[in-house]
């Protein structure tokens, strides 16, 4: 098999534009939630904008949601208002508004809206990330926000009053790369997102993967075919993620170390997964299909070369080959 052709097909079949109607539904719902928050918080809120994979052009179509950043003014919840109060107030508002049509969930640093399946069976997901400027009117100058941590997040304890971040800086982190490199980085981000979806309850955040891929490109000379580049990134993660000195700075706040979002066991597990992946693909390149499956929904009709053998013109069905 040609690993590069397969990987290109994985990326192609996972393009978000393939799910046009689902994308439109997300955009519409995103607009509705945005307007609801603007209507509720009026002059206490700055312009809401999208972050996450859609904004960064790294989304895949098998699992996507919209991240809607809601930047609040310092005194939006009173001059003594806490981030916890901000988080609670927004949750209560969204819960009351959407409780009949969506599951409203408190998540690590965001509030998740998972709308019930529509008549097409589509579920729209919007994550609202509420942040507050550090000082009154400072957001206009520095675009920094403080986030509330709802529950334990790697080594960051629940109830931490603040994580300072700059979402716009996070978005431009990829956009500012050179065009060639940017395309490769985005492809590899998408591929590792596809891989992550194959896993059961995986603790590594997509943002973590995104940053470590960027770091691999910054630290290694990554060239060659798509597989060569992917392999180099996998090797980088395998060799570096468990190092004691390993850090993963949030481009939105260099004091945020994303390496802290995984425990040592989880880092070791990530490293082992990279090793297993490299070993298994080395042993038999067909294994690449297991780690990076195509989205069969959009897989172009393969040639008619199915697995049926022929016997004098009569098709011979393939035998059963796995047993219990």
């Amino acid at each position: 098999m040609d690993k590069n052709l397969h990987l290109e097909s994985v990326i192609k079949t996972h393009q978000i534009t393939k799910e046009e109607s689902l994308l439109i539904k997300h955009k519409d719902k995103n607009k509705e939630v945005k307007e609801a928050l603007e209507g509720k918080y009026k002059e206490n809120i700055y312009f809401l904008f999208n972050s996450g994979s859609y904004a960064k052009n790294t989304a895949i179509n098998t699992k996507f949601d919209f991240d809607l950043v809601a930047p609040f003014k310092r005194n939006a919840f009173g001059s003594n208002g806490t981030l916890k109060e901000m988080y609670g107030d927004i949750y209560n508002f969204l819960y009351e508004k959407y409780k009949d049509v969506a599951e409203v969930k408190k998540q690590k640093v965001s509030i998740g809206l998972e709308f019930h399946a529509d008549s097409d069976g589509d579920k729209i997901k919007i994550d609202v990330v509420a942040g507050r400027e550090l000082n009154q009117d400072q957001y206009k100058k520095d675009e920094n926000l403080n986030l509330y941590v709802y529950y334990k997040y790697g080594n960051i304890e629940a109830g931490s009053e603040r994580i300072k971040t700059n979402v716009k800086a996070q978005i431009s982190n990829i956009k500012d790369k050179a065009t060639n490199e940017k395309d490769s980085i985005r492809k590899i981000i998408r591929l590792l997102k596809v891989w992550k979806i194959t896993k059961y309850d995986y603790p590594t955040k997509s943002f973590f993967l995104e940053l470590i891929i960027l770091k691999a490109f910054d630290n290694k000379d990554i060239t060659g075919s798509l597989w060569d580049k992917l392999k180099a990134v996998l090797e980088y993660i395998k060799d570096n993620v468990t190092k004691e000195t390993f850090t993963l700075k949030d481009p939105g706040n260099s004091y945020n170390d994303l390496a802290d979002t995984l425990t040592d066991t989880e880092k070791q597990n990530l490293s082992n997964d990279m090793k297993n992946m490299l070993d298994r693909i080395e042993e038999n390149e067909e294994n690449i299909r297991t780690y990076f499956p195509e989205n069969t929904k959009f897989k172009e009709e393969e040639n008619k070369n199915n697995r049926y053998q022929t016997n004098g013109g009569m098709p011979v069905p393939p035998p059963k080959i796995n047993f219990g």
Partner: protein, 557 residues
């Protein structure tokens, strides 16, 4: 020959420091017998022991040493048996002189630890109850812990069920389980939990009294005569005994057990059983101050039976899987070779909540490589296997799903997998399980189940022809992984499938041993991952090769 042994014994003992032969060793049939005096630091004077050396010496008889050191005056000390012999266990040696040095060394260690220092072991030692037959048969009673606080001198009835008749070495034995405790008026106090098969068994009546303190003498020996038990019993209970004997007067010469409860370490309750024969109760009426009281016939010996605490922690005390697995509610889909072996392994390893689904029927040709028995003939697989599993674990809780449920499950899942409402109903049903193990090798089912978003963990186990590989899929990509392994990655023979009837449904060739070795490896690995962190469990393949001996290679993905 015996004379040579005798000389060697005496010569060896003479060389051991602190030991003197006080009565020469002599032949007594095939046994060598003599007396020694032992002095160790801390003793003001020697301790004397009669020594018996049996013909097998220096080899053991099963687990028992074939040398005995007796001193009946030491009965009250720990690790002294009822006949006054000191309980020692020493290292193996095929050389008589060396073994004798070990054994006398061990005797000296006993003197220091238990006679001089009066050491108390951290673990609880049960009181020693003689194991003698009652009316030519032994009786064994199994009890489980109950959520009930017995009060001192509380007495009443128990129901018990006889579960089997067997042979105890050379004599007959009957085993039973205690089913419940009732008060003196026959009102329920507490039920004893066992599986439904045991609970459904015919019940007989017994009695109980909770003494609180163990009925023992010399610290560790159960009292031998009713007169020795008398101080533990009050008049109210003796009157109760009298009333019971009167009530069951028509059942003359029938037996009933009296369970005697007391507290042991950790506030645990232990029960011993005494066999009573109706019309032969060890009591009589005694007129005292113009009133009849019930008195005890002091000289009658107590017929102790065997009891075993079969509560979960003792039943699985010797080994079980990790708590995160044993506490799981488990569904096994498909109980052919892999499924039945998995089910039995889980049940024997402490899992108690297991449901089975399989529409198939067990036939004689299934038996050679699965956990079924010939004796039950053709039978629904789930019913047949459950029946067997209930015989293994008294704690198994299972819905007896049977054919209709299994067939309905399969139909519902496949016919309605695209109907969102029905899909949600199926998800709700499956979400009651923490672990769903699909051993059906039904790839349609694997495909459909892969579309579900379940709260529990799904594990798919299947095997290739000749059991060359076992594929275990546990991640979200289970379907793609399994298909890719069998269709594109793994190498195995498909030309020589077993097809005795010439139909279009051949099966694989592999023996019980071929399959079981891989299933046990898989279960062990899953258990290890659950022990470390269940998030660490990944898809894996076990690949065997026999080119250079037999090897199993683990490939984690």
């Amino acid at each position: 020959m015996l004379q040579e042994r005798l000389i060697e014994v005496e010569e060896t003992i003479r060389k051991i420091t602190g030991v003197q032969i006080t009565k020469s060793f002599e032949k007594n049939d095939v046994v060598i017998k003599g007396t020694i005096a032992v002095l160790v630091v801390g003793l003001s004077k020697e301790l004397e022991f009669e020594v018996l050396i049996y013909p097998q010496y220096p080899f053991k008889s099963h687990e028992a040493e074939t040398i005995k050191f007796f001193n009946e005056e030491l009965l009250e000390y720990n690790h002294v048996m009822g006949d006054g012999s000191i309980c020692i266990h020493t290292a193996h040696s095929p050389v008589l002189s060396q073994k004798l040095e070990y054994d006398i060394g061990s005797l000296k260690a006993w003197i220091k630890k238990y006679y001089i220092d009066r050491d108390i072991d951290m673990h609880y030692e049960h009181i020693i109850v003689p194991q003698k037959p009652f009316k030519n048969s032994h009786f064994a009673y199994f009890f489980n812990e109950v959520a009930y606080q017995f009060k001192k001198n509380q007495y009443g009835f128990v129901d018990y069920s006889q579960i089997s008749n067997g042979i105890f070495y050379t004599e007959k034995i009957t085993s039973s389980v205690i089913q419940n405790f009732k008060d003196k008026d026959g009102q329920p106090l507490v039920d004893v939990k066992w599986n439904v098969k045991l609970k459904a068994m015919a019940q007989s009546i017994g009695l109980f009294i909770f003494l609180e303190d163990a009925p023992m003498k010399n610290k560790r020996f159960a009292v031998g005569k009713w007169g020795e038990l008398n101080p533990f019993l009050n008049q109210e209970f003796l009157s109760f005994l009298h009333s019971v004997e009167k009530k069951y007067d028509k059942n003359k010469n029938r037996y009933l057990p009296l369970f005697v409860g007391y507290k042991i370490a950790g506030n645990e309750i232990h029960w011993q059983a005494i066999m009573l024969e109706i019309s032969q109760f060890p009591i009589y009426g005694l007129k005292e101050s113009q009133k009849f009281i019930t008195a005890i016939n002091d000289e009658i010996k107590i017929d102790w039976a065997i009891t075993k605490n079969c509560s979960y922690k003792y039943f699985f005390g010797r080994g079980k899987l990790h708590e995160s697995i044993t506490s799981s509610k488990i569904l096994i889909i498909g109980v052919g070779a892999i499924g039945s072996i998995t089910a039995k392994t889980l049940v024997r390893s402490g899992c108690t909540k297991i449901d089975l689904i399989d529409f198939d029927v067990k036939e004689p040709e299934n038996i050679c490589r699965s956990e079924y028995s010939f004796i039950t003939g053709i039978n629904d697989k789930t019913i047949d296997l459950l029946n067997d599993l209930f015989s293994v674990s008294p704690f198994l809780e299972s819905n007896i799903n049977g054919y209709d449920f299994s067939e309905g499950f399969n139909f519902y899942l496949k016919a309605f997998c695209k109907d969102e409402t029905r899909k949600m109903e199926i998800e709700n049903y499956l979400n009651q399980y923490d672990l769903i193990i699909d051993c059906s090798a039904d790839n349609d089912l694997l495909f459909i189940l892969s579309q579900f978003n379940l709260s529990g963990r799904m594990i798919n186990l299947s095997i290739s022809n000749h059991a060359k590989q076992l594929v275990c899929a546990v991640e979200k990509n289970r379907y793609d992984f399994v298909m890719n392994q069998y269709q594109n990655v793994l190498n195995f023979e498909v030309e020589d499938l077993y097809n005795p009837t010439g139909c279009w449904s051949p099966t694989f060739k592999a023996s019980y041993n071929d399959i079981n070795v891989l299933v046990q490896y898989a279960v062990k690995l899953i258990n290890l991952k659950y022990f470390l962190h269940k998030g660490l469990l990944k898809n894996f393949v076990l690949e065997t090769d026999t080119e250079d001996n037999f090897n199993i290679k683990l490939k984690e993905f």
